[in-house]
Amino acid sequence: MAEITAKVLVVGGGPGGYVAAIRAGQLGLDTVLAEQGGTEGGLGGTCLNVGCIPSKAVIHAADAYHHAVEQATVAPFGLRVERPTIDFARTVDWKDGIVGRLTSGIGALLKRHKVKIVQGHAELVDGKTCKVETDTGPQTIRAEHVILATGSVAAPLPPLPFGGKVISSTEALSLQAIPGRLVVVGAGYIGLELGTAFAKLGAKVTIVEAEDRILPAYDTELVRPVAKRLQALGVDILLRARASGLAEGGDAVLIEEGSGSKRSLPADRILVATGRRARLEGFGLERLDLTMNGPFVAIDERCATSMRNVWAVGDITGEPMLAHRAMAQGAVVAEVIAGHRRVFDGAVIPAVCFTDPEIVTVGLSPEAARQAGREVRVASFPFQANGRALTLGADDGFVRVTARADNHLVLGIAAVGAGVSELASSFALALEMGARLEDIGGTIHAHPTLGEAFHEASLRALGEALHI
């Protein structure tokens, strides 16, 4: 059996793992990355292969198509389009092309930084040794440090096990045809993003949610424009409803509503998007003496697990399961291993929901700030009063700023509106730099841009708004 030794072994090539490996390589550490590949991954992990990137590609295509359809019917600014059609197989090819470019780019980056990539399923023997079943036979890797970055998988719903018509987000992004009737179980961000996209592509979408509102993790003010848009797109939303199984024949979902009534919902595809869970099985993690934090691997601020020189980053360490959190953790771990003093100490982890319109949240909500015992000032600025939003034909939504009442330190920024995901960076920067309302108010924001709403919301919190 072939055996290699390394300073650092990274198990998993997703955003947490590949960033850790690149950074470790940059720092001159002898690094091996084990990536199993397959339908769920390959280099880039969930994010690049079956998550963030492909979903954004599909959402973009759906938006473009739907936009064209809208022009064919209402044409607010006189654009004439004759009956647009979409060849969804080509959409999927285009998406796969993007994914291919990005994953091969990561492979090149790893290579450039002299990271050895071992393709195959990895299984830990102990905290320093890993066996990988490669195409050319088993390989043993011994490393001084092991970084666990095995990520997460879509959580199955017991009454609706994956298979056949019941699919997860992974399969939804590789469908060869647009389903006629799509039932989405779970109105979290994954269910809504994909549900909205397929609705725009022409599917009849029904969303089933057990809670009494969609996007239960976000406050109602932010969700309202999204709910309005879903209604306009003809998406049916069943709240306080549970999917209890497949009807006989498998072409309908059985739904139990809060009132106790049961019904059968015909479906060509059933997308289960009720959450994701840490991928802990099949890697030999049970052989390690890892302290758990509920269903996740417990880590400290340096991403150290309970075992010496065993580190963990990304989704297996818990919420929020976001690629940018994993990447930041990966970089921290590599630097810690290289002997630097580092901790994962970001003030905020921005979160974006690519619904229509998009939602961005960074830092605390007004409610969370109040619960933390803060007296706060909260102000919003609506996109109806923003020139750029009007010229884009998307004036729904707002930017909302939450600051401390006593010293005006900004605690949280949120926005809902078309294209607001691009504002996430300036929001996060403001919070990381410890901006006060006056700092944002005193920054000249380019006109005409959506970012002016951020400026105005801050001024409004100071009682100095100019355009409202």
Binding site: G346, E375, R404, E432, G434, E438, L462
Partner: protein, 431 residues
């Protein structure tokens, strides 16, 4: 919750300022009413400042060694209920330091209440005695996270600096690169200075009082077979008595320190051990035992150690002892002590005050045969049969002339003093 500012009280006639010599509390600690907050030293005496209210310490007004004017902010307490009227009543301080809890009017930004940490340097600059230590107190209230940009966080991490310890002078208490630089400078200058070779040599002539001290000390050490005996004394009860006496004292009476109590204890103890209150003439080989207890009080003066003498302590009550100690110490420090006031002691007490240390080995004031040294008080866990209890403990380090005092006798003598101090009522019982 409100904020109560405790100012440095008028600690004595004609005293305009005092130096903080010891903090008995730390930021974040909760204090009870009458609990000692700090010891401050005037040019006359060291005075302990009790807390007027119960509360939690938010900020200390000076570091140890800092000089505060009478009426300046000594400590800031968070108290239950309203913030205090005293703050509003002191216009200078109210203007400079608005209570942090003060709500913000819906006013434009420039009228922001300046956050307390940033305002403190401004206040000290305006106070009558500017100190070089401009930033006072803790960097930020407990539980507040330091605000710093990622670049500063990284620099701090590399330098091994915990940003919670760094004061932020920026808006909303934000820590700037300059703040971090300043923190690092303070942290490294002393280390740098210690490393640089200093070849300077200064010759100082041993003259005057210093020469007399040198001769006396050498003679004492050369002739006397010193032996020291250290015993631990529980002063909890004494301290309670002392603070209640201080709280209720008449205006014309000085604040009591430990000294007059120890003097009373010595008077009682030497009655049983007359060999301790004696002068040994080793040339003539005679011992003079004295009826009168004339206690020398070792006193630090600007020119050096002096030992003014409180005569006939057996005829003085507690308050008289206290007044006499104060008067003589002041006279000695100002160089006004007469020769009579500086001679004729039969036994000596030495105290280093707040710097009392754990153990000392005092040198006997020859031709006396005993000297009693007071060490620092500290609250320590004491095993009392079933559990540890916090008690205020203090060591007494005493030296004896072993030529004429046997170890056994010395030990019994110290035990007698210990028992008198631990049960202070016995100090005031007639034999």
């Amino acid at each position: 919750m409100g904020i109560r500012i405790v100012k440095l009280p008028d600690v004595g006639e004609g005293v305009a300022e005092a130096e903080v010599v010891e903090w008995h509390v730390t930021v974040g600690q909760s204090v009870l009413e009458d609990q000692i907050l700090a010891a401050v030293m005037t040019d006359k005496a060291t005075v302990e400042i009790p807390s007027p209210v119960a509360g939690t310490v938010v900020a200390l007004g000076a570091e140890v060694g800092g000089v505060l004017a009478v009426g300046a902010e000594l400590i800031r307490l968070e108290v239950t209920g309203e913030g205090d009227a005293e703050v509003a009543a002191a216009p200078r301080e109210a203007a400079a330091v608005p209570p942090p809890a003060q709500p913000l009017a819906a006013a434009p930004a420039p009228k922001l209440p300046v956050p307390p940490p940033a305002s403190l340097p401004a206040e000290s600059a305006a106070s009558p005695i500017p100190t070089s230590r401009a930033p006072m107190g803790p960097p930020r209230p407990p539980g507040e996270k330091p605000i710093a940009s990622p670049a500063i966080r990284r620099r701090a991490r590399d330098a091994g600096v915990d940003l919670r310890q760094v004061r932020g002078t920026g808006p909303a208490g934000r820590i700037s690169h300059d703040d971090l630089d300043a923190f690092l400078r303070v942290g490294t200058t002393s280390a740098k200075a210690a490393r640089a070779a200093n070849t300077e040599v200064t010759t100082v002539k041993v003259i005057g009082l210093r020469r007399r001290i040198a001769q006396k000390m050498a003679e004492a050490k050369r002739r006397i077979a010193h032996f020291s005996y250290v015993e631990e004394v529980d002063v909890t009860a004494l301290e309670e008595l002392r603070s209640s006496l201080n709280a209720e004292r008449r205006q014309d009476r000085p604040r009591l320190t430990l000294m007059p109590f120890l003097m009373q204890a010595l008077v009682k103890a030497v009655a049983d051990f007359p060999e301790m209150n004696a002068l040994y003439d080793d040339e003539a080989e005679t011992i003079e035992r004295h009826g009168g207890v004339h206690i020398g009080i070792a006193t630090q003066t600007p020119s050096g150690l002096m030992v003014p003498v409180v005569r006939h302590c057996e005829s003085l009550d507690l308050w008289e002892c206290a007044a006499e100690v104060l008067r003589l110490a002041e006279a000695a420090r100002e160089g006004r002590a007469t020769r009579a006031e500086l001679t004729g002691s039969t036994i000596t007490i030495t105290s280093l005050g707040a710097l009392g240390g754990i153990v000392t080995t005092p040198v006997i004031n020859r031709p006396e045969v005993a000297i009693i040294g007071i060490n620092r008080q500290a609250v320590r866990p004491v095993w009392q049969g079933t559990q540890f209890v916090p008690r205020t403990m203090m060591n007494l380090s005493s030296s004896f002339d072993h030529r004429v005092i046997d170890g056994y006798v010395a030990a019994r003598f110290v035990q007698r003093i210990k028992s008198l101090i631990e049960t202070p009522a016995t100090l005031f019982l007639e034999a």
